[in-house]
Symmetry: C3
Subunit: 150 residues, 3 copies
């Protein structure tokens, strides 16, 4: 589909493109942090609002105390080749991409409920994190945009 | 981003916030049922339409005959501490949160194709389930809202 | 919720239903290809634009050289019964469903960054793939529609 086609289709149904991407980041395996960085960076670079809500096992990727994220068990054998491929292609680490997104206005919120469950407070998180909020606040923030659950 | 900022951005692009959340619940590991409960409950409490479509391994969480959902293999070692943290923080079980959502109007649909594959009929599901529908019906229902694939 | 109810709610908030589904296909386990096929086929059959972005481990499902997708480790014991159930219920394979979607206009894009990481070029992919594009192009294409991250 061409972008002209998209514009025509949207005009036909009386709808403007949204200007917001909201990402719920739940999974904590190492691979899933890459699409978080890529989507946040791409959306921010295009001038979209990007709102990220960190919950579940993904919290462990945002603590001052580092936790090594596990590779998904089904694809563990591929990990060395992929790491090599990322270096060879000079792919930026996910947190570098997320930091670029934040420089362009992206916000990173951490789930208050899951923080409580894991015994983590705002001061336990690194500087990628803007604040600790409840899910209702995030759902309100996400309204009217595209949403991704990673 | 402030909520005022959101409103201004939406006004600028001529778009109202949506009033519907649709969740495709596919994953069947124990951890993923928590965001289902949280998103459904938060959305319903805010007066949004919440539509849930249960498919894949998640069907096993809705049968009268109970199935214990497995913990994701990569994080299995964390299961006891997380269970302890949920009790200590008085986090409601996911099905309690989903029931609260249903009391506020949320609907839970089960996938007809996957029910057939697993040999399950409407009478095999518990009272969280409203009906058994096809994917096309769900896609139609989901139009014009936020969508999450868990 | 009835479809009349949906229409009323949408009129109330001044919003038309969207006419586009965008799917980011990241997971590479065998089970997750089924909802890709189902959502793409259902959306296309309803006259919606369907845009699929293949990335992560899912790339391996689209190469000329076949790769057998692993079953998720937590549910591996269920694989034989599910395969049997799919045959018994004459469920089409996921690639047949995706091909039907493509016949109705769905587009399948492969992630350029992940292709580079895996050392794959356009000519390494099978005929389900339309092109190799960057994430920013996909984010632009996805604007104003429903989005799913599988």
């Amino acid at each position: 589909m061409t972008s002209t086609g998209t514009a025509v289709a949207e005009a036909a149904i009386g709808k403007s493109p949204t200007n917001k991407i909201s990402i719920v980041m739940f999974s904590g395996t190492a691979d899933k942090f890459i699409p978080l960085g890529v989507l946040a960076q791409a959306g921010s670079a295009m001038g979209m609002d990007v709102e990220v809500f960190i919950t579940g096992f993904a919290l462990l990727g945002f603590t001052k105390e580092p936790h090594e994220a596990p590779f998904p068990s089904e694809f563990a054998a591929m990990a060395p080749a992929l790491m090599q491929g990322m270096k060879g292609n000079q792919v930026a680490p996910w947190d570098t991409m997320l930091r670029q997104a934040k420089d362009l206005g992206a916000k990173v919120h951490v789930c208050s409920m899951m923080s409580g469950v894991m015994g983590l407070k705002l001061e336990d998180y690194n500087d990628l994190v803007d604040d600790v909020v409840g899910a209702a606040t995030f759902v309100e923030t996400a309204r009217g945009g595209e949403t991704f659950f990673i």
